[in-house]
């Protein structure tokens, strides 16, 4: 640390101590404060080891015949082209899980956008009990999924509170073991659980909508509903794109809920998710190559959806 002190103050040209071999074309090849690189080195190493390298490794695994071997053992992992992708995409269980996530997104994403914008707009103008409201809205988001999953399964089980209120109207078989209801219940659960985060995003965006727009809309005789649709909705469009993107990515990551709420994607695969299948295939059944291929396909699907969302909701800026 002390050796770089002089360099930082610009007293002497950098000795290149932090990263040798970077060349010395200029007097200060690493900028005015080479110490910055040293300060950032742990983070850069972390990003490299935990994100960059594993992303590359995931692609590599998906194109090879990969299986778990004892640490240090030298085993052949031949290149197999698209075999793992074919295995994955011809498996009905995998296709089912992708369809399930499609159902999930179709329910979850619109509900998330509508409710979070509605509640954020109301909360933004609230004058009483604001702290209480904020706490209550964010509390599901900060709580562990496992903890709230326990309550939801208590509420929605065959003899649960929901069914005892509904009485004869309760679906049979009950919600979480009914193939028409299992996935929608998971979608409702995730909407409820994550809504606080999106309310937070919309609240930040609402601060940036110019007050004058509301005022001139009022002068033009616009009612509340009219102002909401002509001023608020376009005013927070950037946030909407972000909410769409984040909720889609979160949805594609679905694992805990089908694992616990519907007991491993039941009934009969009606609520499996791709990540759940990746866990079952990759780690339980020892086919990490096929699981990696599912992961790659899933990410590509998310990228396509995100691109389309950005294209159509991002609009004409």
């Amino acid at each position: 640390m002390t050796s770089t002190l002089a360099e930082r103050q610009g007293v002497v040209p950098s000795s290149g101590g932090a990263t040798p071999g970077r060349g010395r074309r200029k007097r200060r090849p690493l900028g005015r404060n080479p110490l910055g690189l040293l300060f950032s080195a742990p983070y850069l190493l972390f990003v490299l080891a935990i994100f960059a390298y594993p992303v590359g490794y995931a692609f590599w695994i998906s194109f090879h015949d990969f299986f778990f071997a004892a640490p240090g053992a030298q085993v052949a992992r031949p290149f197999v082209g698209f075999t793992n992708y074919v295995t994955a995409l011809t498996d009905p269980a995998v296709l089912r899980s992708f369809a399930n996530v499609g159902v999930f997104l179709v329910i979850n994403v619109p509900l998330t956008v509508v409710f979070s914008l509605l509640l954020a707009t109301a909360l933004n103008k609230a004058t009483r009990a604001v702290t209480f409201l904020r706490i209550s809205y964010y509390v599901p988001y900060v709580t562990a999924s496992i903890a709230v999953v326990a309550v939801w399964s208590f509420l929605f089980n065959g003899h649960g509170l929901v069914n005892s209120i509904l009485g004869p109207l309760a679906p049979s078989p009950s919600w979480l073991i009914n193939d028409h209801w299992a996935m929608p219940i998971i979608a409702f659960f995730v909407t409820w659980k994550q809504l606080g985060f999106y309310i937070l995003l919309y609240l930040a965006a609402l601060q940036n909508v110019p007050k004058e727009l509301y005022e001139s809309a009022s002068t033009d005789g616009a009612g509340e509903a009219r102002k909401f649709f002509s001023v608020t909705v376009p005013g927070v469009r950037t946030a909407t794109v972000l909410v769409l993107l984040v909720s889609t990515v979160t949805g594609a990551n679905l694992f805990t809920e089908p694992y616990l709420l519907t007991n491993g994607g039941g009934p009969d695969g009606a609520s499996t998710s791709p990540v759940l299948i990746m866990y079952q295939k990759g780690i339980e059944q020892g086919q990490p190559d096929v699981a990696a291929a599912i992961g790659v396909v899933l990410v590509i699907a998310v990228l396509i959806i995100a691109f389309l969302q950005n294209r159509f909701a991002g609009g004409r800026d």
Partner: protein
Amino acid sequence: MAATRRRRGVNADSLPRSGRIARSVVLALGAVAFLFPFYYMLIGSLQTKLDSTTSGLLPNPANLSGTNYVQINDRINLFQGLLNSGIFTGGVLVCTMVFGLLVGYALAVLQWRGRGVTFALALLVQVVPFQLLIIPLYVLIARDYGLADNYLGMIIPFAINSTAVIIFRQYFLQLPKELFEAARIDGASELKLLWGIAIPLVRPALITVVLLTFIGPWNEFLWPFLITKNQALQPLAVSLANYITNVAATASNPFGSALAGAVVLAAPVVILFIVFQRYFISTDIGSSVKG
């Protein structure tokens, strides 16, 4: 409605009476929808005998006891689970605070080559989907490095929270440059500047980051679930999930004991959040997500 509006003037926040009532109703319904499951979690965890009828909504003193807590504690050691969650979360917090502050400071205050790239990486990392990382990280950490059933293996993938890095940078950017120039002329080292000047000035950001970073590992399920098979090392989220899937059915009040575990898992975060809720503000987190 338009006529009322004009008479009231152009204050954007004033609403006709009916509108204000509608807004209050929406807000109140929202609060009930968000809070009710938590209330029900607490009530359910205290019921000696499960009562899922509508009368079970109100506490019945004859049916309240701590039996469920005792029962789940017999099967999974709640204290050990809390301790493991604490070690996992604490490790992530320490790494994020130490290395996150360093890189945040470097990004905001220091001029060095690679600064732009590093900031771009911190943004990019937030959109790398975890699905893609599960298999390679499992292969690397659990198999190649042999860090399964190890606190280090739990901590590593979450060690430095990139959102924290971006929040730190944001706050350090707001500090006046002259402050640092003056101290530098006096011969203070950068570490001293960071510790003595920059950090004390961004104290609210520290609390926001601690809160935000805390909920990640404390609530994380998938990763510790994948790499801890040894029950003595499992964070509470994992041991509770295993209890729900494998053991609960054999308990006399399976839902009650699961809910008792849920209360123990949820309580630390909820309490922390209520105490520090004013630091959990939209502008910080919103701006950091948007970059």
